[in-house]
Symmetry: C2
Subunit: 162 residues, 2 copies
């Protein structure tokens, strides 16, 4: 079977099921976050990253990891969060080039407000239908796939795009 042969039915089923499950889940999550806390998924991820960081603060560069594809995109989102009073931005003390982002009390409150409902959505849509070993199995397979993805960049990969 060559690299470019058509996908067989079983492969198509896996591919489509993965995509649809993920898209439906993301859509439900976005709707909830917006109605429950006026947040987008990206903003929620930013707040959660800060929430889990020591002192509730991170530099822009660290914050960008895995959340956003361009630096200006993060600046834009951080601007919205700052305007909403959920984060603050100050120059990094030991590196004047940097910006240190800190979650505010209001930011922590907002995540606390939103989190229970967020968890409920994930439970209802993704976790509840899992039975027996499903959770462990799913995690095992997806973790292996993720590892492969991270180490197998696109063939044509232009290394730096920014």
């Amino acid at each position: 079977m060559s690299e470019t042969a058509d996908l067989d039915a079983a492969e198509l089923n896996a591919y489509f099921a993965l995509m649809e499950v993920c898209n439906l889940l993301e859509h439900a999550i976005e709707q909830h976050l917006r109605s429950a806390g006026d947040l987008t998924s990206i903003q929620f991820k930013i707040l959660m990253s800060l929430n889990n960081a020591p002192g509730g603060q991170l530099r822009m560069t660290d914050l960008a990891d895995g959340i956003v594809h361009s630096r200006s995109g993060l600046t834009y989102q951080a601007g919205l969060l700052a305007k909403a009073g959920l984060i603050t931005r100050v120059p990094t003390p030991d590196d004047e080039r940097g910006t240190t982002v800190t979650i505010t009390d209001a930011g922590r409150q907002r995540t606390a407000d939103v989190l229970p409902g967020h968890v409920a959505v994930v439970r209802r849509m993704l976790l509840n239908p899992l039975v027996g070993d499903d959770l462990a199995t799913l995690t095992d397979v997806l973790t292996r796939v993720r590892t492969q993805m991270r180490t197998a960049p696109p063939r044509s990969a232009a290394r730096r795009k920014d």
Copy 2:
């Protein structure tokens, strides 16, 4: 364990792994489609739906299913595809309200051009790391989740939004 209790570590791992796998795959797919055929994922899905439809044609309403969230969004995308000569739109013969969309030869050619690379991306990123029963297992679990998602709409669900 209540509905809104925090997710435990195993649940978080599954949730995050699913999201990251899906996001990385979608990103790789979008990049490929754009560079290989100047198509977005949505446009590709539209062309593939038409390609698999009898006579290469569908009505707008049927085309929208599962691809787009608003009717105007489909009109917009169809407009782009028509301008690129990949589809045509004519009034539906037996229902003058409707629009029948037909894929052109150029549209079929474009999908044929893009498909091998698309398959290669899915193989490289998603399928290749699967071994043994992984494919069957993954499909089984995800299919069950999908079924649940389709039948368990959001609590607050506003039925019609358009």
